[in-house]
Symmetry: C2
Amino acid sequence: MGSIERKKSPELQAYPMKGGDGDSSYTNNSSYQKSLSEVAMSLINEAITEKLEVENFTSEHPLCIADLGCSVGPNTFIVVKNIINSVKLKYHTLTIPTPEFQVFFNDHASNDFNTLFKTLQTEKQYYAAGVPGSFYDRLFPCSSVHVIHSSFAIHWLSKVPDEVMEKGSPTYNKGRVHYVGSDEEVVKAYQRQYVKDMDGFLKARAEEVVRGGLVVVLVPGRPNEVPHSECIGNVLFEVLGSCLLNMAKEGKIEDGKVDSLNIPIYYASPQEVEEIVDRNGYFTIERIEGLPHIAEPETKHAAKRLTMGIRVGVEAVLKGYLEDEIIDGLFDSYCKRLEQVPSLFSSGGAAILFCVLRRNEK
Amino acid sequence: MGSIERKKSPELQAYPMKGGDGDSSYTNNSSYQKSLSEVAMSLINEAITEKLEVENFTSEHPLCIADLGCSVGPNTFIVVKNIINSVKLKYHTLTIPTPEFQVFFNDHASNDFNTLFKTLQTEKQYYAAGVPGSFYDRLFPCSSVHVIHSSFAIHWLSKVPDEVMEKGSPTYNKGRVHYVGSDEEVVKAYQRQYVKDMDGFLKARAEEVVRGGLVVVLVPGRPNEVPHSECIGNVLFEVLGSCLLNMAKEGKIEDGKVDSLNIPIYYASPQEVEEIVDRNGYFTIERIEGLPHIAEPETKHAAKRLTMGIRVGVEAVLKGYLEDEIIDGLFDSYCKRLEQVPSLFSSGGAAILFCVLRRNEK
């Protein structure tokens, strides 16, 4: 039990997606994630068909599926349903009796599990459970989960790297909310945090996944060879930072707010992921590829939707620093900026990484 | 998967304890339950020591514990911790390596799981999961739980018996909110619902509990031979009903409100429980007994505390019928009534049933 009794980092930061079902909730602003998940589904189905070793699973136990960073639905329900159908088909094809399914919905303890639970379908084909906690730590008992899925979650670091908040240090991220345009030392600090977090993620999953089980990850990143400065996600945060700086110049927010605010997100390349997984050693990469970036058309409507999408993601981070009306003002000017320079969100410097990991023999 | 795909009763009613941590929350008004749980703990420890067949459990799987009707803590955390310590001691005594623990906290989907998850200790010795749903249906996969515990929960029926709401029928519960003082037909309707619910509870648990596992139940009831009319729980609801009738007479609430309001609680005797378990056939009663009723001293303070305790329990039921200020007024007059007639809550016609069930061979 050593691994779960170890002290959790007190600095671990949780920024759940916005709960409830209001206009700016995750539930009503996750269509981009949904369409990408649909693209990913055929790849997940392939991975399950080809790589999930159901013939090695103990038949008298339920088949357990976990969705890490599930937020509040409905995407998590759609993905889970598809995974189950795919697993069932595999059992059917192999003429092995289908087991019962148990699904663990995981997110930070501050996630809106009440909404998640209330929107669970009663006619579902699995037993549902919610699991609160960071996926950079252990969440499940040893060898107890067969398929682990995570969509649009592990680009969130476990915390803002300490170094970027150290005033006077070369890693201090002055005047920016993310690492693009910052000194190389800041980028490296973000990178180090990412590597550390991914190591924690892989180590925890390696203990939890049964032999022959799979970890399937869908995460925004950047193509190999595309520099951080041209990755759309980074560009969008750079715009957010410049909007905040303008508000500081106009006296709407205090000087220093921009210095102390850092968004704990890192966009990795497939090559970086491969290096970490290989070095970590617990998993074999069965497949890794970038899904096509579905560029938003350059319209006012698209700018609004994108603004809302970014807001849903980072609002929880901003709330610790800014008052609600300031956040409203920030996203108003952010949206106007995107409308003025629509090329910002239609260029191609982005990749959604799809990655299938198989647990190596224990 | 037939059993979990079956249609859930659409009439299933959920009345979770009041969430959050305000003055009238369950968290701050469950000291009575807590002291009784402490009395029960020594009995639970005995049951685990003598009856839990850990030597028959598969060692490579976690030991799973479920608390049904857990509400929001802290009692559920205290009980779970004690169960784990007791199980660990048993493994230690038998010199079998201790497994990992996974704990499932169950309550209705409308329970405040957000508060439950936020108050989970980080330094706990188990993996935690929340399971939304009625314990009168299946909640877990087959043969997947080793110890099931439920405190102060299964006296709640799955719903108000249909018959007591049928106007014109001999079972119509006119002018009362519970079954004491009602026609014998009303009492029988409550009894039938209780038997049906307990059958559902036992059938579901029989499928979920592993061979050699235990179900431990702590539930308010009444001693054998004590008629319903003298059971404290019933008396307290009778007082509540008469306070409501007074408010109706004073024109503060509509006529008919009292007729349509029924509290779905049944206080069973040990004999009734024994008959149901025996007829059901899945379990053997290893122990059943009434714990001593800890009578409140006859003070103003005790009347207030008791009022708050009752309010926490039934507020969710009342909210469907009465406005908030009416509920406040109701409990003001309820408290005054208890202060005037303190003997109402210090008599001995109550029993907390403690019951240990062992799964028969499958």
